[in-house]
Symmetry: C2
Subunit: 137 residues, 2 copies
């Protein structure tokens, strides 16, 4: 098992301050948030614009890595499922994917709509939306 | 800058053997492939089924991490864009996202349709499709 090293390229600034307060689904009233990037990745943000849909990739640093199956949504009446078939933050590599829209840009700070990540969550990558037409890029 | 350690939980088995042969867009005739998981994550696969749309998260181990902007699609007549606004494998954390459909399951092996990752690419996570209705899980 070869390890790979991710580095934090920014952080989430959000009014969500704890895991308990975080909504369990992306569309469940998550608040807007700011993505605050490190100065050394400024060049990588070039061309991003307000209104664009992007995928924020985070490192869920409070998640457990030894949990391989869960009761979906924490409901013990539901049958246990493997974490790869759920959005549980607990998984061997606790990577978070968040589809959001950019609502404002201020230098190294991107404001986004409805992000279900708690304050301080490290950002590790940002990509154009999966289904976006990228044939012109 | 805090590093986080990812570990390989499986590998891609594909007829795509080199970066040069890989299509530049997911919908550009990528071949089917097998995702071969490590025995220690067997429990995390529980509940996955044929026909399901999933996101495979890979570690693009041949990518460069010092490239922050590129000519889109390698075309030098196009203006340079930040890598966060492109699908370039070259980026600070070379994470690959691949939306695929499961076409067969054989214990620790999942066959998927149209995967633009080359043979041997390490897998680091698997999730249900972003837009899938997961309200029942």
């Amino acid at each position: 098992v070869t390890p790979f090293e991710l580095r934090s390229i920014g952080r989430v600034e959000s009014s969500l301050k704890s895991v308990e307060a975080a909504p369990r689904q992306a569309d469940e009233d998550a608040p807007g948030a700011w993505l605050v990037f490190e100065p050394e990745v400024r060049e990588a943000l070039r061309g991003l614009r307000v209104g664009q849909a992007v995928i924020v990739i985070t490192w869920l640093d409070r998640a457990r890595r030894d949990i391989l199956s869960v009761h979906p949504r924490g409901d013990s009446s539901r049958p246990v499922e493997g974490v790869f078939n759920t959005r549980s933050p607990h998984r061997p590599n606790p990577i978070g994917l968040h589809e959001v829209e950019i609502t404002a840009i201020d230098d190294l700070r991107l404001q986004v709509r409805s992000l279900e990540a708690i304050h301080g969550t490290p950002i590790v990558d940002l990509k154009p939306e999966l289904n976006e037409d990228i044939s012109q890029r």
